[in-house]
């Protein structure tokens, strides 16, 4: 599989705070990759740099920010406008050749045709998140970044969202999402990237992370992640190195 997104030696610092350190990875076509890690690990920072919300302090990204779709954690939509109006507005701003057709396509894809005329502010959290993702897909990007897409959704809304994301992947869209919910990564992602203290400390399939954390296939990925991070921290302390110093 060819890499549709390559990140090399990416770093970001805010004054004295090092938010990202030498992060490098490739994302391949059609992958559904999860970015996980503890709070403050740098997940949102990494996605926002790839999306072009902020610039890196160092490093390179193979795709221009405009070439990836991006759905922020909190829906970036106009709550007083309807679903269709939001989609059409962003389609026009993106200079999509046929904005009306793009709106129709997105209404079908998100299953929100019946709510097309409803103000976004009156939608459920799950439907708002669908519109949020739909806006990111208006330009038909090859790579879609989802920042904590299921945060603040109830279980049923989460399930519908993941069905939607799975449908996108089935249509060939490469998806990278960040999440606090490790079980979601275990269920839906084909690959997990673990960030800790601004460093990429694991990159592999969920079952590889299970193994690294001492769990067998079908075990608890969250427990495995916690054990993996603890063992890595203690081994680095013994070696006198930074806990996230090596992958």
């Amino acid at each position: 599989m060819s890499a549709v997104l390559s990140v090399r030696a990416l770093a970001k610092s805010y004054g004295g705070l090092q938010a990202l350190r030498e992060v490098s990875f490739d994302i391949h076509e059609g992958e559904l990759a999860a970015l996980i890690g503890p709070n403050g690990a740098g997940k949102t920072t990494l996605l926002s740099i790839i999306a072009g919300i902020q610039g890196p302090s160092a490093g390179t990204i193979s795709r221009a920010p405009g070439d990836v779709g991006w759905a922020p954690q909190y829906p970036a939509l106009y709550s007083k406008l309807s679903v269709a109006e939001n989609l059409e507005l962003f389609a026009r701003l993106e200079k999509v050749s046929d904005p009306r057709a793009a709106v129709e396509r997105m209404l079908d894809q998100t299953g929100l045709r019946e709510r097309a005329g409803a103000a976004v502010g009156r939608l459920s959290g799950g439907n708002r998140q669908r519109v949020n993702v739909a806006v990111a897909l208006l330009g038909e990007p090859e790579v879609l970044l989802l920042d904590e897409p299921s945060a603040s959704l109830d279980p049923e809304q989460r399930e519908r969202l993941w069905e939607f994301v799975a449908g996108l992947q089935a249509h060939g869209t490469t998806v990278v999402f960040s999440t606090h919910n490790v079980s979601e990564a275990q269920r839906h992602a084909g690959r997990v990237l673990v960030l800790a203290d601004g460093r990429l400390v694991f990159d592999g399939a969920p079952r590889e992370l299970l193994a690294a954390g001492g769990e067998g296939d079908g075990g608890d990925l969250e427990g495995a992640l916690v054990r993996f991070l603890r063992e890595r921290a203690s081994s680095c302390t013994r070696a006198g190195a930074h806990p996230g110093a090596e992958l």
Binding site: I53, P65, V68, G69, A76, L81, E85, V135, G139
Partner: protein
């Protein structure tokens, strides 16, 4: 699209200029020329004050006073108090029964009683209104007394009938004594009698000269100072049209700053800003650049408030005489002022993250700035006035007021200076807004 969805906001934008124009127009055009004041006259009918040989009617004074206010005659103190409490009059003036006696007295000053009510502002209005009315009434009454006194002095000088002050009839005039006595002195032999007569003659001549002078002095002290007004720059602005300019400027400022700040803050509040200013999938450019976003918000707010302010000005024009030949200058002043206010608004909106905070900040900033810009020189200490001047200089309200005053009334400074000032302020606030928008969400 959002404006169209916010029906309440659109309704406010339409109703506001109409309501304010009507209120201001009616307030200016229908305001009573004179304040309503209750007058309780307790003096006896036909009572007079004697000055020399003349009798001046006390009711002349009452008439003078009544002519300065919208008089509401009452028959008792209780009725006067009731009218004040009901708001029918702003105050009551009681002319006491002993006014004539006190006027005639050499030791007691005549006094009036003023009854009023209300808060500090109303009290100040009553005091200034009645002080002005009483000053004019006093002036009129003193002129009548002065005329009576001058008449008595004239009779003393020219001779005639001064029987009213107990003098014999057909008195010789003081000014006639020197010529009459001179003829007698000429016939007198030199000696003691002639010397005494010459002394009397000299006194009569001196007294006549000084009484003539006293007559002139009387006319001078009745109104010792008259005022000649000289305006240094520009045309004199009638208070009515200046009030219109202030009202339109304040409305323009509030609508424009609130709309612009809210429109920019809304982008952050809806978290749409980062989506708008990041790259576009498949194209690599921004959906909209920060500069274009700010320009769009500035023009939207400026356009809405410009239409509103012009509607207001035109509406008030139905009540107050405005020079429609200068309408081109009105439009220029309103347009540039609207852009400057909108630039201030987008700068405020770029600083905050919520529409409510933006509205509050816009209001908190605009209200004192408008107030400070209206503080006249000399009303505060020179140091404080310099501070106020500096503050007013760096915000668009005073420059807008001056531009609109120049456009509507031809007042100074010239509209060109004010427009240039506003253009610079618009550029500065636009730059600040651009810096503020750089902050991450």
């Amino acid at each position: 699209m959002i404006l169209r969805r916010s029906r309440l906001l659109v309704a406010l934008l339409v109703i506001y200029p109409i309501a304010i124009a009507l209120l201001i127009g009616l307030a200016i055009s229908r305001s009573p020329a004179r304040a309503h004041v209750a007058i309780l006259d307790e003096t006896a009918p036909g009572e007079t004050v004697q000055v020399g040989g003349e009798h001046v009617a006390v009711n002349q004074y009452v008439r003078q006073l009544l002519s300065q206010v919208q008089a509401v005659e009452v028959s008792s103190r209780a009725q006067a108090v009731a009218k004040i409490q009901s708001g029918a009059v702003i105050a009551a003036v009681v002319i006491p029964a002993d006014l004539a006696a006190r006027l005639a007295s050499d030791v007691e000053q005549a006094r009036l009683e003023v009854i009023y009510n209300g808060n500090a502002l109303e009290q100040s209005l009553v005091q200034s209104t009645l002080n002005s009315a009483l000053a004019k009434a006093n002036l009129g009454f003193s002129e009548q007394i002065q005329q009576a006194a001058a008449g008595a002095i004239g009779t003393l000088l020219k001779g005639g009938n001064l029987a009213t002050i107990g003098a014999p009839e057909n008195l010789i005039g003081l000014s006639e004594i020197p010529s009459t006595l001179g003829a007698i002195i000429a016939r007198q032999p030199r000696g003691h009698d002639r010397s005494e007569l010459e002394r009397v003659d000299a006194f009569a001549g001196f007294a006549a000269q000084n009484l003539t002078l006293a007559k002139r002095v009387l006319s001078t002290i009745s109104q010792p100072i008259r005022v000649k007004s000289v305006l240094l720059h520009g045309r004199r602005t009638p208070l009515n049209t200046f009030a219109v300019v202030v009202a339109v400027s304040v409305s323009l400022m509030f609508v424009c700053v609130l709309l612009a700040s809210g429109a920019v803050a809304l982008e952050r509040e809806e978290r749409a800003l980062s989506r708008l200013i990041r790259g576009t999938p498949g194209r690599g450019g921004h959906l909209i650049s920060r500069e274009a976003l700010l320009a769009e918000k500035t023009l939207l707010a400026a356009g809405c408030s410009f239409v509103l302010a012009f509607a207001m000005l035109a509406g008030i024009g139905a009540f107050v005489a405005l020079d429609w030949a200068r309408v081109g200058l009105w439009l220029l002043a309103l347009a540039v002022a609207a852009v400057a206010f909108a630039a201030l608004g987008v700068a405020i909106g770029a600083l905050v993250r919520e529409v409510r905070a933006a509205s509050l900040l816009a209001f908190l900033l605009s209200l004192p700035l408008a107030f400070l810009a209206l503080v006249p020189a000399g009303a505060v200490s020179s140091g404080f006035y310099d501070v106020i001047g500096a503050l007013s200089f760096v915000f668009p309200f005073k420059a807008s007021l001056q531009a609109l005053d120049a456009a509507v009334n031809g007042a100074s400074p010239s509209i060109g200076l004010s427009v240039a000032h506003l253009a610079v302020l618009a550029a500065v606030f636009g730059g600040l807004a651009r810096v503020g928008l750089q902050r991450p969400e």
